[in-house]
Each structure stands twice: as structure tokens, then as C-alpha cells.
């Protein structure tokens, strides 16, 4: 059967079989490997994508059910070479170690912040409770999400081009460290 999806704003169609998961369509059919295979039983959250505005574990979503739906994956977060500010915050707050769980955490956090733009620390903890990270221990991830919110809400005093330069420098530093 043919499945039609909008993936990160682009219309795609692909041949699938009825037992396929959304995860296997994203990685296998569409060759987008930013979404990770983890437990394959809906426990770990490495495969989290946003389906019609809601974060879901794509390893337990039947792909055929998604006909006509809108899917957002980690590949859709950055704007060209410019990282999504939440991705940048994950780097700035050392919320990434091995990185395997990161795309899942990012998608969970993006969907969550769309619903609840100013959450408490407890609300953040609860929101990411279905995503497992075995390296950083969550604190840095929570700090990254809070850091993103603080950055987002900072009054914009400096001109736009200067902010961008600063951000670029920080990226280089983070990558070098």
C-alpha cells in the first residue's frame, strides 16, 4: 500500500506494508536516520517523533494509520546550518554524551513546549519521563530545556546580526571542548 505523509513540511509518498511501524518507514523507506531505534517496545523514547502535533513513540505506531498525517523528526528542527535553539541549548548545557537518546528528547521537549511554553522543573521532569538517557543523568537535559526557555525569554537588546555571531562562536567552542 502507498502511504502519504508530510514529513518536516515536505509531502512524501512511499510503498509500505501493513505491519510496518512509523519508525521503520522513517528510517527504512525515507532513509532519515536521525530518529533512533532503541528498545522497539515503546519503553525508551529514542524513536520519539511528533505526529500531528503530539510526541509519540514511533516504534509502536502503525505506519498505515498515519495516512495523510504530519510528521516532524529531528531533521526538521535546524534551519539549514543554524541549529534550533533547543538543540543549541542541549550543546551549551552538556545535555548530550553519547547522543543516542538526544533526538528523542528533543522531539519530546519541542512538542511539550508547544503545549506548555513556561513549565516548572517538575513539569519538565514529567514531560521527559518516558525518554531514557543512560549517560547524562537527566539533570543536564532539564537544565538545557530551562536554559532554552531563559534564552527565548531574554529581552532582545543587541541587534540581530550580533546575536547570531555570538551564537556561532559558542557553537564552535562547544564543539571544540
Amino acid at each position: 500500500m502507498i502511504l502519504h505523509l508530510t514529513v518536516n513540511g515536505k509531502n512524501v509518498e512511499t510503498q509500505i506494508s501493513p505491519e510496518q511501524t512509523l519508525l521503520s518507514v522513517i528510517r527504512g523507506n525515507l532513509k532519515m536516520t536521525g530518529t533512533k531505534i532503541g528498545c522497539m517496545v515503546g519503553e525508551c523514547g529514542a524513536c520519539t517523533v511528533i505526529l500531528n502535533g503530539k510526541a509519540v513513540k514511533s516504534c509502536v505506531v502503525n505506519a498505515a494509520q498515519c495516512e495523510g498525517m504530519e510528521v516532524r523528526t529531528v531533521e526538521g528542527l535546524a534551519n539549514g546550518e543554524e541549529l534550533h535553539p533547543l538543540q543549541q541549548a542541549f550543546i551549551d548545557h552538556n545535555a548530550v554524551q553519547c547522543g543516542y537518546c538526544t533526538s528523542g528528547f528533543l522531539m519530546t521537549a519541542v512538542a511539550f513546549l508547544e503545549q506548555n511554553p513556561n513549565p516548572s522543573r517538575d513539569e519538565i521532569k514529567k514531560a521527559i519521563s518516558g525518554n531514557l538517557c543512560r549517560c547524562t543523568g537527566y539533570i543536564q537535559i532539564e537544565e538545557a530545556i530551562e536554559g532554552y526557555i531563559a534564552e527565548r525569554d531574554k529581552p532582545k537588546e543587541v541587534p540581530d546580526n550580533e546575536t547570531k555571531e555570538n551564537a556561532a562562536e559558542e557553537t564552535v567552542e562547544a564543539a571544540a571542548s
Binding site: 511501524t21 509519540v56 502503525n62 498505515a64 494509520q65 519530546t108
Partner: protein, 281 residues
């Protein structure tokens, strides 16, 4: 593995037509259990019937003095419903600790009771609320207590040509749910308790229902224990009396997540806490 077909329908009637076919049809909504069971081979459908687009199966409403929840309503929709929070606090609390927030975006209440896992977190609240399941098939329907719907570990009385349409219960202002899990998210329950109380104007209990999850092969009602509280309040005396009869109701099993002894000794404790919480609401 892909020796089956897939069909998506938009109305209950279309779904019932498909279910009436002489084929092994598996109903699929959120998929959080069905997809697992297909992939590990426990479920071998010849046709997967997607009911997630049937609007008639979704939503929460007040009807004929009951709160009615469509079978394909997600756990997050239940957790976000003021109607549920005000009239079925036990179910609201269960929705809040059910799996994790992202699973709750997909998992449905109809799926939870139909999968009928011994540790299903939605079931005890519905048992305590005296929920009734509306089951439809081509040319007919029946309504049965949820306590008669789930009959064992992963076993229900649903016939192959039937579809769960909704679950309803009378509003209850004093209910509560408590879960013991080994961690906060994605924890399969060690044990759960749900309590629903009805009080008279003097705050004396006129009706009491206590349900336990994860203690045995299926969710159960503690019918002897709950009677102890009728005509009284939750207090030291009724708790002591309840402790004497609880062994008639629960025969906890030994398991990975908790021993028989642990489950037996904590069941009474979480029941007391839930009774007080429900009573004081």
C-alpha cells in the same frame, strides 16, 4: 510477517461490517500493545482494522446521568478532562501515572481494558466506579459490567465480531487511585488500588467499592473488604476490621515486581491511604 491486510474505517457501522467477516480481524487504535504483540508473534491477525479515525468512538460526555467515554479516547484526553477530574478522580489519577506522557498520546481506554493486562492502570478505577462496557456487533449490542468484561490475564468476553464502543459510569465525587511502581514512568504496576465512595449528608459511607490491580491474573474487586466500610467512615476500627477480611478478597501472586508477602502486606496500606484520600476529597 506481513501476511495480513489493513483497513481503516470512519464509522462504527463500517467497523462492525468488517468484524463480521470470517477472518481473524484485530482491532487497532493506539497500537501501543497491538503493535508489540504483532511484532513478537503473539498476535497473528489476517486483517488489521484501524478504528482510530472513528469520531463516534472518541470523547467524554455526560449522558443519561452517566459519564461516557468513547473506547478510542486516549489516556491523555482522559487526564485532561475536567469532567473526569470532577466525577472520576480515581481515573484522572490513573491517567496521570499511566505509562508515560507520550504513550498516553496514543494508548486508549478501550485498548487498556481489552488488552486486559493484569497490571492495566485504567482498569482498577473503572472497576471501582462500577463501569459498564458497551459492546457492539453487526445487528446488536450489549452492555456489561467491566468486572464481567475482564475475566482473566489478557482475557475478556469480547467475541471476534464485537467492538467495544464506550465505557460509562455514574459520577462519583469521592474516588482515588494509588499505584506502587518501581519507577515513576513506564513502570508496570507492582500493585494499584482504586476506591470509590458515596457519602450521605453526615459523611457516612453509603456505598464503597475497592478494586486492586496487578495482584493476580486480573483486576479484581475486594467485595468483602469494601462492605466493611458501608455505614461507617474510614477509621482505625474499620481499617482493623478490613484487615481481617481482606484475605478473602486478595490472593496476591509472586512475581518479578513484588513477592506475594510484599503485595499482601502493602495492599491494605495503600487501600487505607486511598480510602482516606477519597473520603477527604
Amino acid at each position: 510477517m506481513s501476511d495480513f491486510d489493513f483497513i481503516s474505517v470512519n464509522t462504527i457501522d463500517e467497523a462492525l461490517d468488517v468484524l463480521a467477516r470470517p477472518q481473524k480481524v484485530t482491532v487497532l487504535s493506539g497500537g501501543t500493545d497491538v503493535m508489540l504483540r504483532i511484532h513478537d508473534g503473539r498476535l497473528e491477525p489476517s486483517l488489521l482494522l484501524d478504528v482510530s479515525r472513528i469520531e463516534e468512538l472518541k470523547g467524554i460526555k455526560e449522558k443519561d446521568g452517566f459519564i461516557e467515554i468513547g473506547a478510542a479516547t486516549t489516556i491523555n484526553e482522559i487526564g485532561a478532562s475536567e469532567l473526569i477530574k470532577d466525577n472520576a478522580y480515581a481515573l484522572y489519577e490513573a491517567a496521570d501515572v499511566f505509562a508515560d506522557p507520550n504513550t498516553r498520546n496514543r494508548a486508549t481506554i478501550g485498548g487498556n481494558i481489552t488488552n486486559a493486562s493484569p497490571g492495566a492502570d485504567g482498569a482498577p478505577a473503572l472497576f471501582a466506579l462500577d463501569g459498564e462496557v458497551l459492546i457492539k456487533k453487526k445487528g446488536g449490542e450489549r452492555r456489561i459490567p467491566v468486572t464481567d468484561y475482564i475475566i482473566g490475564s489478557y482475557k475478556t468476553v469480547l467475541e471476534p465480531d464485537e467492538l467495544v464502543a464506550s465505557i460509562r459510569f455514574k459520577p462519583c465525587k469521592n474516588s482515588a487511585f494509588i499505584k506502587i511502581g518501581l519507577r515513576k514512568a513506564m513502570a508496570i504496576s507492582v500493585e494499584t488500588v482504586a476506591v470509590a465512595l458515596f457519602l450521605d449528608e453526615n459523611k457516612i459511607i453509603t456505598d464503597c467499592r475497592v478494586a486492586f490491580g496487578a495482584l493476580g491474573p486480573s483486576t479484581l474487586r475486594a467485595r468483602n473488604t469494601e462492605k466493611v466500610f458501608v455505614g461507617y467512615t474510614p477509621n482505625e476500627e474499620t481499617f482493623a476490621k478490613a484487615q481481617e477480611v481482606i484475605a478473602m478478597d486478595i490472593k496476591p501472586r509472586d512475581g518479578l515486581r513484588g513477592s506475594r508477602e510484599y503485595r499482601f502486606s502493602t495492599a491494605h496500606v495503600i487501600m487505607e491511604r486511598a480510602l482516606i484520600k477519597a473520603y477527604e476529597k
